[in-house]
Amino acid sequence: MTYTYDLSHLPEAAKAVLTGISGKTLLFYGDMGAGKTTLIKEIAKQLGYNDIVSSPTFSLVNEYDVQNDKLYHFDFYRINDEKEALDIGVEEYFYSDHWNLIEWPEKISNILPNRKNEIIVTQNIDGTRTLKINACE
């Protein structure tokens, strides 16, 4: 499914993602500035996280306590090699049964879990964003 929104409708966009997926692994594709982190912030909020969601580009992974669960927010932007992701122990996070929201998953395409939802964020000429949500089977 696809969903187009402007920033004032971010909560609805996050809801569309949460209702359109199955499972807890979400991959976010999109150029720098497309709005991946902004969307993830809203999703985390709707899952019950009330604190600041900042970019994990430097830290690679941020952990948030959401309602009765944990959410891992990854950003693989700055890694050069899949091996580096294995070295930080991503498998332990991916197969933990917690939420895994992953920015720049294309950097680690060979080691992503099988059960995953793809969310492709594109920015339109008028500034709105379009989400293409490919839910896992």
């Binding site: 720098m32 500035g33 982190t37 902004t38 912030k41 600041i52 969601v53 900042s54 970019s55 580009t57 430097f58 830290s59 690679l60 992974v61 941020n62 952990e63 948030y64 700055r78 890694i79 050069n80 090699d81 091996k83 580096e84 070295d87 930080i88 122990g89 332990e92």
Partner: protein, 339 residues
Amino acid sequence: MNEPIYILGIESSCDDTAAAVILNGRILSNVVASQKIHEEYGGVVPELASRAHQQNIVPVVDQALTKAGISKRQLSAVAFTRGPGLMGALLVGSSFAKSLAMGLDIPLIEVNHMQAHILAHFIEEKNQSKPNFPFIALTISGGHTQIVKVSDYFKMEIIGQTIDDAVGEAFDKSAKILGLPYPGGPLIDQYAQKGNPKAYSFTKPKVGDLDFSFSGLKTAILYFVQNNTKTNPNFIKENMEDICASIQFTIVDYLMDKLKNAVQETGIKEVAIGGGVSANSGIRNALKNAEKNLGWKTHIPKFEYCTDNAAMIAIVGELKYRQKDFSEMNVSSKARMTF
């Protein structure tokens, strides 16, 4: 005379494995795992790897002790970074610190990485004055942007922070948009010094009084570059210095706006900065000007104490040792930690 207090500090919160030895406020050694260490040990440097901490930690600690000219038996305590940071990376440092403290039968001291960035100002250095309480601390790096009100060594309050990207990330990602290699923050600074800071203007993001947002600025720079390269494909190349100067000016001015707000709201005119972005010439000059024009007292630590390092962990270790604030052996690492 003071009894000699030797503290070993261990830092492993993100990419770098580091160890340092401090003796009564003075750093005797400050080692960060580097190409050189790996050469000595015949290994390869993984660019980014928590498992690399496991390879690094013994040689790094070993070298810190050797450089300090002491044996491990002379240590009074072992201090380590408990958090915040990357869990796998933190665990290596904490396990090692616990084992060493237990083996030597000396106290174990946990350190908050973000507090350490601030308390690095209390390392004894020639020609460096220490801040007086209370003061305002601005921590700026690739992972952090925080304004903290510091009332005492361990009485700190975060009064402002970024709600999205960190300032170092804003620099690095702007550089990437301009086609510079990542991380390109220092390159922006280099080009900026030759350019006109008023050549282009970018709107400063609007958030709370003391909070920061850099995500929108990144997008604004992206649009600006896209629009201009449409009409002139060589736009970036021809105007690199002016573009970098304008980006740097916008970011530094934004940081200074927030600091001015913090000074005004707290009435505290003493300002200390830390974190890797403290090396930026724009922010250094802006602080110097604030001393002259606004009557602030400002502090910038030596660069090696600004980036992630173990000297700052060691100084906090010493401050806590003097207060007999020790940790239990069952203390666990924490990826997220506030003050």
